[in-house]
Amino acid sequence: MAADIRPKRPFRWHIAIFLAPAVLVYTAIMILPLAGTLQLSLFRNIDQHQVFVGLGNFRTLFGDPNWSVNFWNALRNNVWFFIIHMLVQNPIGVLLAALLSSPKLRFSAFYRTAIFVPTILSFVIVGFAWKLILSPLWGVAPHLLDFVGLKSLFTPWLGKEQYALTALSLVSVWQFIGIPMMLIYAALLSIPDEVIEAAECDGITGMSQFWKIKLPLILPSIGIISILTFVGNFNAFDLIYTAQGALAGPNYSTDILGTFLYRAFFGFQLQVGDPNMGATIATIMFLIILGGVCVYLFLIQTRLRRYQF
């Protein structure tokens, strides 16, 4: 640091002043609510008074079958939701980016835009549009399948316990495929031409060039995308809520942590909201995400650096 070289310099107030707006705003809208949530989770409302119960709410969440069954179900569903994204969204994103960055492809700007557009659509529009597309009554899905003679494959996916979550995960993949595609595309473009030329001189072209040269170079980007996907998926709520409602039917088969939190915190229909239990679930979600991000930062990213220039 420059300050270490010239130790006599007076304290530089302007740094603190310039940082202050960001620190204050961030504290006011992120740190304080977070601390408030953590605090709320340690209390319970008994006879209209907030009473400190320590980890009592967490014991209820994990120990009382009325809560724990729903919690584990939501967590399991959320993990599945994440797995689908990792297995489908990210590989396809990489593939699309690789295709787009090929110099031989024409209209690549058009494809890039078209694939990215769903990402900027509102969840409400996406949820509603897909509900209509997949509708057994007026949807285009049954007609399209009929067109190619595969009508027998159609079932009301969003209404079946065994398919609903996977179907919604794929809708979400459809919506967000643009993000890994754009990030990988940028990473691919930033690979220096010298590296590619050197590889060509060594006779590495085509597919093997992708696997041996480009893929290792974009691994850090893939890591970033994985962590973005992880955080996004464990915070997800909107799509399930718009497509399936707060009860995440059928039979809670699409219930993820976000919808579970919503029902607990705000209540639903005749169920009265319980902010303390809601905060407890929110705290667990925070810890899950924090844990996942830490694993990535300390175990994966440190290794990835070796591949970088």
Partner: protein
């Protein structure tokens, strides 16, 4: 932000209202409501009718958005700026306001005698001693059918369950119509239009409901499982892909004339009258044998109470007594077909479908939805679980017995009626 603005606006109007009193010697009453849809009915019909009879009292109907109503009302009551008259949600939400002292006790209000105990149950303390809102309207469950389809296929309106299923079989065999328009995607259709619609005939209306609350009956008893057994039999008569059919889908299927029978709530009448191009009729949930006593779900939905902090309590009580009168009932029920007055005095209605629905009150016994009073206060929430399990039973993913057992286990975990 919006709520704040609204609060500010309403605060403004109430101040202006008070100012008005000082100048004109008139008392102005403000009504809090979530029924923005009814604004024109209040302004053009109800309020002029009241003001004509009660000179010196002015009434302002000031609704807020349904989703914001509870929060906005709570804030205004706390700030002391809420209107004099408060539209009451049924059961626990209003009960909470009463317990906090925000709603005045109306047990002795002239006009309350016009309502039956069932009608008042939604706005009473658990022991039934104090009433705090005047019941305004209820919705009745039953089945709406496509009269043209029934005539074409030569089907008589079913009275018993056997006739009901025979009719469904006949419609299915003919193939022109989907026998019944209902989906399980939104869950509540299965519970509200299914279980709560046909159930009262099995659990004998209020008798069963009261016994359940007292703990004398369980959801696993025969009377409570049987409606699930009937629901399970509905499955083959629903349209293709009913698992993903939403509530608006069901409405459209019926009003487009593609389905013959629609398990309904009377609130549909207004919409169906404008959309359906065919003649419609309605029948109450079929009973087991002809001549059995029939029971209907006549669910209390909306009431009106007095803000305990109101400065014009006497004028407000005059207004509430009028709300409890037959005059109000006639205007309200005709302006909003499908929302029936809870007044014991018979109300003349012009709409034939609404007339049909309300005529069942004469021959059947009324009850309210079994899960609404007291039983949905804990976790897991019985009403929400009933939605899920009713859909499961129709989808065939749970047997009626398993569904009932899950509901009872959930209820047992927090509800311990004093014996």
């Amino acid at each position: 932000m919006k709520t704040k603005l609204l609060t500010a606006l309403l605060l403004g109007t109430s101040i202006l209202g008070t100012a008005g009193v000082a100048y004109a010697e008139d008392v102005t009453l403000n009504i809090e409501s979530w029924r923005g849809d009814d604004l024109s009915i209040w302004k053009d019909k109800l309020i002029p009718a009241f003001e004509a009879k009660n000179p010196g009292i002015k009434v302002v109907f000031a609704p807020s958005a349904p989703t914001e109503y509870d929060a906005a009302l709570g804030a205004k009551l706390a700030a002391g700026s809420a209107g004099d008259l408060i539209t009451c949600r049924p059961f626990d939400k209003s009960l909470e306001l009463f317990k906090k002292g925000n709603l005045a006790d109306l047990s002795s209000l002239p006009g309350m005698e016009n309502f039956s105990p069932v009608a008042k149950s939604a706005w009473q303390t658990d022991d039934g001693k104090s009433s705090f809102c005047v019941p305004m309207a209820s919705v009745i469950h039953g089945f709406i059918y496509n009269k043209d389809a029934f005539d074409k296929l030569g089907i008589k309106v079913p009275e018993t369950r056997d006739e009901f299923f025979a009719a469904l079989d006949k419609i299915k065999a003919d193939g022109t119509y989907i026998p019944m328009a209902m989906g399980t995607k939104d869950l509540w259709e299965a519970a509200t239009m299914g279980y709560q619609n046909i159930g009262p005939n099995y659990w004998k209306g209020e008798d069963g409901r009261a016994a359940l609350i007292k703990g004398e009956q369980k959801l696993t008893d025969k009377d409570w499982v049987a409606p699930y057994e009937e629901l399970a039999k509905w499955k083959p008569y629903l349209g293709d892909g009913f698992e993903a059919q939403t509530y608006p889908d069901s409405q459209n299927l019926f009003t487009l004339g593609r389905a013959a029978i629609y398990p309904a709530g009377s609130w549909e009448i207004g919409l169906f009258n404008t959309q359906a191009q065919f003649k419609m009729g309605a029948f109450p949930p079929p009973v087991e044998k002809a001549g059995d006593t029939c029971y209907i779900s006549d669910h209390t939905d909306i009431g009106m109470g007095l803000n305990a902090a109101s400065k014009h309590a006497d004028a407000a009580k005059t207004f509430l007594s009028w709300v409890a009168s037959a005059d109000f009932a006639t205007i309200y029920a005709n302006a909003l077909p499908g929302f029936f007055s809870l007044n014991s005095a018979p109300v003349k209605m012009a709409d034939p479908l609404a007339q049909e629905f309300v005529s069942w009150r004469g021959k059947c016994k009324s009850t309210i939805r079994s899960t609404y009073q007291i039983l949905s206060r804990g976790t897991p929430n019985l009403e929400n679980e009933t939605w899920v399990e009713s859909a499961n039973v129709i989808n065939g993913t749970d047997t009626p017995e398993a569904a009932a057992k899950k509901l009872q286990t959930g209820l047992d975990s927090w509800y311990h009626p004093a014996k």
